[in-house]
């Protein structure tokens, strides 16, 4: 990766370390005895702070995953160069779009 991608990867990793720990903790607690949509949505609807947390989570993921995937593809396949970079950028935007849409679904709708 270029230095900029490396920095973004490591910084997003630090954000994700916190977010994943929080997410795993809450999910492991919340799934006790089964989980319904009603349970989830009751906790999340209108919860602005939680929505902000998950938005930060989604942004960090949208930065972190495509950069990692780019490394794997460059090293384990013959694919590299501008086309790979563009496809990875598209993957990042896709993750961002799907992630924010999921947040709207769970926190707003």
């Amino acid at each position: 990766m270029t230095a900029a991608l490396f920095v973004a990867q490591r910084l997003s990793a630090i954000v994700l370390a916190i977010a994943v720990a929080a997410h795993l903790g809450t999910i492991l607690y919340a799934v006790r005895g089964g989980l319904t949509a009603g349970d989830i949505l009751a906790r999340t609807h209108g919860n602005a702070w939680l929505a902000a947390f998950y938005a930060a989570f989604v942004i960090a993921v949208a930065v972190h995953a495509p950069i990692g995937l780019r490394n794997v593809l460059r090293e384990w396949t013959a694919w590299r160069g501008t086309t790979l970079d563009l496809v990875m950028a598209a993957f990042a935007l896709g993750l961002l779009a799907l992630g924010l849409r999921a947040i709207v679904a769970v926190f707003v709708a």
């Binding site: 990793a13 949509a37 995937l69 992630g99």
Partner: protein
């Protein structure tokens, strides 16, 4: 079958980190799509969750939870080496990471009944 020079903790860690990352990269879009079914109301999400109650999906869920935990613990190991000049290289340190990840999986298994 496995190259001799690869039978060492650092390579195992890097490979587990990479494979778990790939699994997560594939899983995440699906996770976002699943959650977004709530756009059509709680019933839509419930209907989707019902579909996922089969053993294959539940095993995959367990796998993804463990993959997430492994990716995080091994990622923390990399950050420790890179940012804090951490120098522990033994299999023991790696086993600690794996143990944490599997503990998380176990908790998930016990809770998701």
């Amino acid at each position: 079958m496995i190259r001799a020079a690869h039978r060492q903790p650092g390579f195992v860690a890097a490979l587990a980190h990479r494979l778990s990352g790939l699994a997560l990269a594939i899983f995440l879009p699906l996770h976002f799509l699943a959650l977004a079914t709530a756009l059509n109301g709680a019933e839509a999400l419930d209907a989707f969750l019902a579909v996922t109650r089969n053993p294959f999906v539940q095993a995959s869920e367990l796998g993804i939870v463990v993959a997430l935990a492994i990716h995080m613990t091994l990622g923390l190991r990399v950050l420790a080496i890179e940012l804090f000049d951490f120098r522990e290289t033994t299999l023991a340190a790696l086993s600690a990471c794996a143990a944490c990840a599997f503990a998380v999986g176990l908790v998930f298994l016990l809770n998701a009944g």
